[in-house]
Symmetry: C2
Subunit: 210 residues, 2 copies
């Protein structure tokens, strides 16, 4: 079943291996090195083979995103289960996302480049992250129950925490945050305090509607 000049004519698990090969290739040589032909070559098949499993290149990348989002969501769910309060869960989410991006940069690089997966044509990729957003929303609602987030529409707070995580991850993957700043992923109590402060800011401002 593995690659490496396989013996059988049929691959057996080409679809899954194309997804894995994409992730590995991004992590080894960067997103700029990823092409359908290259991924196929890496899996030991001809350039046309992927088209029996994916409609086009964007569909392959959409499948990578679906897999990565499921992985991330399960880690986020685990992080929330270990948290003892909504605010703690939010801090854990950001830390978990940053750690996930460091451990699986291939998935995250693709998640952050929607032009490669054409979410408008591949709705499964567009909706892949919704489970994670639901978790985030639930944690914000917990905060509202605990009085640590303003009542009303939780979406502004969700968007802000989400943006903070995406920003940290982006700057991390691109390099500048690694070079200039402290490793935010390994200082949980500081980050939790920052998330708390963020929600406090949301509370003190006239948020909820704007």
């Amino acid at each position: 079943m593995p690659a490496e000049t396989r013996a059988t004519y049929h691959h057996g698990a080409l679809r899954e291996e194309l997804i894995s090969a994409s992730v590995s290739l991004i992590e080894a040589e960067g997103i700029g090195a990823v092409s359908l032909r290259r991924v196929a070559r890496e899996a030991g098949v001809s350039p046309g083979a992927p088209y029996h499993h994916f409609a086009d290149r964007a569909a392959l990348f959409a499948a990578v995103i679906v897999r990565g989002s499921a992985l991330l969501e399960s880690e986020l769910r685990q992080a929330r289960a270990q948290a003892t309060s909504g605010v703690e869960a939010l801090g854990a989410f950001v830390r978990t996302y940053v750690r996930f991006a460091r451990e699986h940069p291939g998935y995250v690089h693709l998640m952050l480049r929607p032009e490669l997966s054409h979410p408008d044509r591949h709705p499964d990729a567009a909706h892949a992250g919704e489970g994670s957003i639901d978790l985030l929303t639930a944690a914000v609602v917990d905060c509202q129950r605990e009085g640590t987030a303003p009542p009303g529409d939780p979406m502004p707070a969700v968007g802000l925490v989400w943006a903070l995580a995406v920003g940290i991850v982006t700057l991390w993957l691109d390099g500048p945050l690694q070079e200039r700043c402290v490793d935010v992923g390994t200082t949980p109590e500081v980050l939790t305090a920052q998330i708390t402060a963020l929600l406090t800011g949301l509370m003190s401002g006239s948020a909820g509607r704007a």
Copy 2:
């Protein structure tokens, strides 16, 4: 001097027009539609012509980034001049960045995709954003003088504000923030409160070193 089947054999200002055409093309058809040949065609010139002004495709995109960063920096400088405190300046920075991304998405899309400009091979693009970071750092130092940011290394606070801005802009350009959340760019007092709260969190935590 304009494009559109020019009369003269020599273009006259091809370098600048290639940069502008890149930005326009991104804004009109998205980053996926941008290729060197297409940009050259848009400027009314043969595929080989750009190579007399740029070493390769990445060099053209690096020049776009340099121009966009200068534009952004001047707007950030203006925002800081109008602020009456360090914290207010930080809020103004984030709002200005978000507004800039909405008004000039072509520049920002390229700034957020370093694999297209190869910053390692084109150091001018790598250092293009440093002026803006210096402004951000100066504002954080102002906060430290005002007692609204913790003393010591300002970089953790700089990184956090920077990440927040990048995250909001990324989610905005990619769509999800537009669909789900409130327009954070038009609610200055709320955002300022959030930045204040962020710095308060940095202060209360054991920040500065980690």
